[in-house]
Amino acid sequence: MVNANTGSFELEDVSVAYGNEIAVAGVSMTVPPQAVTALIGPSGCGKSTLLRCLNRMNDEIGGVTVGGTIRLDGDDIYAKRVDSVELRIRVGQVFQKPNPFPMSVYDNIAYGPRTHGVRNRAELDAIVEHSLTRAALWGEAKSFLKKHAFELSGGQQQRLCIARALATEPEVLLMDEPASALDPISTQQIEDTIAELKDSVTIVIVTHNMQQAARISDRTAFMLRETMEAPAALIEVGDTRTMFTNPSDPRTEAYITGRFG
C-alpha cells in the first residue's frame, strides 16, 4: 500500500510550448496528496496539456518544451536523472475514451506489472484481484477475467482502464475527462470509484463538467485562454467549495455561472 502523504505535486511557473507556440504559461500551484484536484476551463485552455506534464507524456509528442519546475514529493520530475518509465509507474493515467488493449481482461491489468518484471502467477493473480476491487469492477469481472476486454461495456472498459492504471500501485492517478464518453449511470460509477480511491491515491482530474468538479473534487484549478494570441493561464486555484460559492476572480465567477465557455 502507498504511504500516507505521498503523491503531492508542486508546480512552479510551468509553461508548455508546441513548437514555437506557447500553449500554457505561468502555472504555479500545488496538488495535495490523497485528494481530488479538478482542472476546469473551456475547451482548448490547456487542461490536457498541463495534465500530460505530470507524467511527462508530452515527451512523446515531438517538439514539446516544458518550462518551469514540477516536483513530485519534492523531486524535480524533469531532472536529467529521472527516467520517464519510473515516473509513470508512480503516476498513472486514464484517458478520455476507454482504451483497453486488445487482449483479455486479466492480461490488460497484468500488463503494467509484467512490464515492470512481475512474473509470478500468484502475485499477478493477487494484483489483478486487488486492482479490480479498487476500481469497483471485481464483482462483475471475476467471472470473465479470460474474456476479451472488448466484450465489456463502455463503462466497464473505463473501470478496467482504471484498474489497469492502479495495477502498478501509482501514488497519483491522472484522469483526462474519464467519463465524457460514458452514459450517466457509468459516469456515476466512475465518480463513486474516484471517491473510494482518493484515500489511497492522489487524483488529478480534467473535466469540462462543472457539476462533476463540484461533486467530486476537494480542490479546483480554473484555467483560461483569454485571447487566441496569449497562452492559457491559471486564473484561480483553491478549495472547491470556496471556489464554487465564493470565487475571488470575476472570470472564474463568469465561467462557473455559465456566462462563457
Binding site: F95, G112, T115
Partner: protein, 284 residues
C-alpha cells in the same frame, strides 16, 4: 418535370451506369477464370502434379516446375518479410517525420512502380554477375524480394497506422518503452493486416516471369537440390511453352496456367478470409 424528379432520375441513371461498369469487371473476371478452368482443369490429375515432364514436356507432369515456384516464393519470403516488416515498423513507429523520411517513403513508392523486367536486369547485374551467385534459385529469390519489398513495407505501415494512437498512449502511460509497446500491443493487433498483405505481395511474386528470366530459371532443369541450382518455375514454364516449344502440348500449357492461378487464388482467399475474421474479432 420537377427538380426533385429530375434529381431522382439522374440518380438512378448514375447508379445504373456504375452498376453496368461493375458487371463488366465481374464478367471479365468470371470469363477469365471460367475459361481457364474449362481448358486447364481436365489436365490437372495426380500424375500431372506429382511427376516430372517427359518427351519434351508433351507428357508427364509439372512437379519440378511447381516445386521451383514454391522454393522461389519461400526464398523471397525469407528475404523480403524480415527486412520489409522491420523497415515498415521503423518508418511507422520510430522514424521522425521530416524531409528525409518523406524522401524515403517517396523512394519506396517509386520502387513499387518500377517495371518487373527492370528488376530482372538489376538482379542479373547485381546478384548473378557481381555477387557471382550465377543463375540460381537464390539469385531469383533475391530479385523477387527486391520487387516484393515495397509491398511488404507499405502494407506493414498501413496495418500499423490502423492501430489507434490511444493504445500506444495507454501502454506508454504504464511505463512501457516504445519498443515494448510495439512488441506487445501494436504488432499483435496489426499482425493480421501485415501477414495478409505480405501474402498478397508474395503471390504476386509467384506469378512474375520477368524478374526470374535472367536470374533463376532454365527451360529444363531437375528439381533444385541447392540454392545455387537453376530451377524451373510456373510462369516462365508457361511463357516458354506457349512461345518457344517445338510442339506445344495445349493441355500442358492450360494445365500449368490453371495450377498457377488456382494455387495463388487459394492462398489469397485463405489470407483474406483469415484477416477479415481477425478484424471482426478486434473492432476499434
Amino acid at each position: 418535370m420537377s427538380r426533385v424528379k429530375r434529381a431522382r432520375m439522374m440518380e438512378s441513371l448514375a447508379k445504373g451506369i456504375m452498376g453496368i461498369a461493375t458487371l463488366i469487371v465481374v464478367g471479365i473476371a468470371l470469363f477469365l477464370l471460367g475459361y481457364l478452368a474449362y481448358r486447364g482443369a481436365p489436365s490437372v490429375t495426380w500424375e500431372f502434379l506429382s511427376q516430372a515432364p517427359r518427351k519434351a514436356m508433351t507428357e508427364g507432369g509439372i512437379h519440378p516446375v511447381i516445386m521451383g515456384t514454391v522454393y522461389l516464393v519461400l526464398g523471397t519470403a525469407a528475404f523480403a518479410l524480415p527486412i520489409g516488416i522491420m523497415a515498415g515498423i521503423y518508418l511507422s513507429e520510430f522514424a521522425p517525420r521530416n524531409l528525409w523520411t518523406r524522401l524515403i517513403r517517396l523512394a519506396i513508392t517509386n520502387m513499387a512502380g518500377v517495371p518487373s523486367i527492370v528488376y530482372g536486369l538489376f538482379g542479373f547485374a547485381l546478384f548473378v554477375m557481381s555477387m557471382r551467385l550465377g543463375v540460381s534459385l537464390i539469385a531469383g529469390a533475391l530479385t523477387l524480394a527486391c520487387l516484393t519489398l515495397p509491398v511488404v513495407i507499405t502494407v506493414t505501415e498501413e496495418a500499423l497506422r490502423r492501430i489507434p494512437r490511444e493504445l500506444r498512449q495507454a501502454s506508454m502511460a504504464l511505463g512501457a518503452t516504445r519498443i515494448r509497446t510495439v512488441r506487445k500491443v501494436v504488432l499483435p493487433a496489426a499482425a493480421p493486416g501485415i501477414v495478409t498483405g505480405s501474402i498478397l505481395g508474395l503471390s504476386r511474386a509467384a506469378g512474375e516471369t520477368a524478374p526470374v528470366l535472367f536470374t533463376a530459371v532454365a527451360f529444363f532443369a531437375p528439381m533444385p537440390s541447392s540454392p545455387l541450382d537453376q530451377t524451373m518455375a510456373l510462369p516462365y514454364h508457361l511463357y516458354i511453352m506457349a512461345t518457344q516449344a517445338v510442339r506445344p502440348a495445349p493441355h500442358v500449357v492450360w494445365g500449368t496456367a490453371f495450377v498457377l492461378v488456382a494455387g495463388v487464388s487459394i492462398i489469397n482467399i485463405i489470407a483474406a478470409t483469415w484477416r477479415s475474421a481477425q478484424r471482426k474479432k478486434i473492432k476499434w
